[in-house]
Point group: C2
Chain length 424, copies 2
């Protein structure tokens, strides 16, 4: 058992209160106890007791949309709009990416997730064997999802992956998914719908990321992507839609009605000049929004603090309303809604929940004075504030050091060597 004591705790268990002089005990990957110091403490053995020095313990952040192996294209293909970026820069390079490379670039991504206080990811990529192995090797956690489209993977392969990776590692699950409407034929979409029905599961996909995508879908089907997915039965069982920058009123009503999760990716959407999603409106309608970084080729980081800030301030400037989106709502998106979109029991710090938690170092200038810890996290927080990241009870990152079984320097060397080998 690990004992965290002398903590402030933001449990996120139904409220945003910061509890003082609290303890959090962790056993076998779960939260064992949250509360004041116990009188019966002498009855317990601890493998480690950590003095949190009045710093904040809170649930880890969930990165609800990412493509981990795409670290290989960080700062390689930039300053292009989405379609050119995909077709001219990303796709040709991806054809050179082996599973071995995908593994090492996923290790690299995991280093960055842990530094940013991210305890779990929702990862879509065509090299899911690589991502799964990286997650398992390092002790990280994540949900993999299919990326079926007209060019890569097939519905049959996805069914195999679905069976394999839902019985592979307790920290990994697999959801069905396809890349996007504009890269996936109606025939394939219908096959995916049948498969989800067979297993009674939801899908994940990129949706309405650009204006062009929506316009082309309307000209193809006389329907928006959301309307098309609804008609095909693809929005059942808590589907997850990434981006959603161009939703109609009707789309939003469908999403609300079907309990679909929207994952917003403000950094990537701004950098690719795709647009800014109507998050304020969605939150007001009661749509569950989670936050993702998208891949490091389009963001270009895997820094959830940047995304939380952007989620907040872009809504303020877009809506010309400085009160748009409360900071509490942003924290809820990044921690609670993220967990729900991923389908993992890590939404809050409560006995029995997964011990996916982080320590935020409040003794840094950007966190002082302590007028409001929640506001500080959203409005002035940075990765430098994350002093510990624990995934399923294991401390994988602590004060700049990693405990994932592989030295960062080796990962950097491998990644740079691979990159040299595939450039030009």
């Amino acid at each position: 058992m690990i004992r965290l004591y002398n903590c402030k705790v933001l449990t996120l268990d139904g409220n945003f209160e910061v509890l003082k002089d609290y303890e959090v005990w962790v056993k076998e990957g779960k939260i064992f106890y949250v509360g004041k110091k116990r009188n019966d403490i002498e009855n317990f053995d601890f493998e480690r007791e950590i003095d949190c020095c009045k710093n904040l313990v809170m649930p880890g952040f969930k990165n609800a949309h990412t493509h981990s192996p795409m670290t290989f294209l960080r700062s390689y293909a930039d300053d292009l709009p989405l379609d050119k970026w995909l077709n001219e820069a990303v796709f040709p390079m991806e054809r050179k990416l082996s599973e071995e490379m995908g593994l090492w670039f996923s290790y690299l991504a995991i280093l960055e997730y842990l530094e940013s206080g991210i305890t779990s990811i929702f990862d879509m990529y065509f090299l899911q064997n690589s991502v799964a192995k990286a997650i398992k090797d390092t002790g990280f956690s994540g949900v993999l999802c299919g990326a079926v489209n007209n060019f890569v993977s097939s519905v049959e392969e996805m069914e195999e992956m679905f069976k394999k990776y839902n019985n592979f590692d307790e920290k990994i699950s697999y959801k069905m998914g396809f890349h996007a409407e504009y890269t996936t034929s109606l025939e394939i979409l219908k096959k995916i719908a049948l498969l989800t029905k067979k297993y009674n599961v939801g899908i994940a996909t990129h949706c309405s990321e650009t204006k062009k995508e929506v316009e082309e879908c309307i000209s193809r089907y006389n329907k928006t992507p959301v309307e098309l997915f609804l008609e095909l039965g693809l929005l059942e069982n808590n589907a997850v839609l990434f981006h959603c920058n161009y939703l109609s009123e009707k789309d939003m009503e469908i999403i609300k009605e079907k309990n679909v999760f929207v994952v917003t990716n403000p950094g990537s959407n701004c950098k690719l000049a795709s647009g800014i999603a109507e998050i304020k409106k969605m939150v007001e309608m009661g749509i569950k929004v989670a936050i993702g970084t998208d891949g490091p080729a389009s963001n270009n980081s895997l820094n959830i603090f940047k995304e939380m800030y952007l989620t907040s301030v872009l809504q303020k400037v877009k809506n010309k309303d400085a009160s748009a989106i409360k900071p509490e709502s942003v924290i809820e998106m990044a921690c609670v809604n993220g967990a729900k979109a991923l389908g993992i029991d890590s939404d809050c710090i409560k006995e029995g929940k997964n011990a996916d938690l982080i320590i935020i170092d409040l003794k840094k200038p950007n966190m002082q004075p302590i007028n409001s810890i929640v506001k500080n996290i959203v409005y002035s927080g940075s990765v430098a504030n994350v002093s510990l990241t624990m995934v399923r009870g294991k401390i994988l990152y602590e004060k700049g050091k990693y405990n994932i079984g592989i030295e960062p320097e080796i990962i950097y060397k491998k990644c740079n060597d691979f990159m040299e080998s595939i450039k030009n």
Copy 2:
């Protein structure tokens, strides 16, 4: 003399090339040598030799618009538009702020600047004695500017401050300035114009931050703020205008013609829902743009990486152009143009220039693989990458530790105690 060796160096001396296997030597606050390892190295004595481990040495960032003592209102007054924020939240609290408090809250800001790789600031506030003392005490550097308006300070006081703080400390200078057109009467503006003529110096002021401000100025004077300042002779000698979110075509032509510096503050402008400046257009016109955080009450951090990212991606999404603003241009704004707006000789790493420099740790996951160092800094960089900050040859921050003569913990305690004493 301090010797940095085994470095990559981004000198910014006319280009963006990253030089490898370079050394930077620093003596008496200046760059003494930049180049390959010297054959005559045995002739020199070094008080310290730092192995940079192939990490990057580059000029420090300049925060060209800030209000340091406003750290006291971080996460205190949020989610309000500019006019309400100022009148209902900021001004009443500022009336309670003593010079002693201003000093400690400035120390706090300096901790955050150093952590973010900021080596110099352009600071406007009504407590300039506090800011000046904090800069002097800590070994930091900065340009103070007047904040004359109808309520606080006077032109006579500003003249005294101008004389005092241009002969106070070699790392401090003082520029004339006023808060904004909308808070400063025509009579005062005219007196300031006379004073700047007497000393042959430029002014600094908030300008065209909100649409309302511009509209009210037009209804008052039948001129935009920029047109008014031009007519009053307030744009001579490299004036510096903060924000500039609502410039007309004519305003921009005037700014270009008069060699005025524009300082953009994207975080604050989004958070207060003020708007997004036309930076792409300004850059294309050849206007010199620098970057500032604005104060920590409206941003809420003093993190230049956040501002660089926002400067870039907001232009992309605003202009629907993923190629808007090159990353090189953003680095130039934050380092080179910042130095020029401040009037300090710290724009690049070159023999004889001020030794205001930083080390960027490339051995962090967000900087890997190294496809492009310049892009990495702008698109994925974070404060966690700053491993050393040197101001005028003195190392004030190194690997998370400060060397400013005061312990951070003491600053945090003082600041929280002061805040408790003035709340409610």
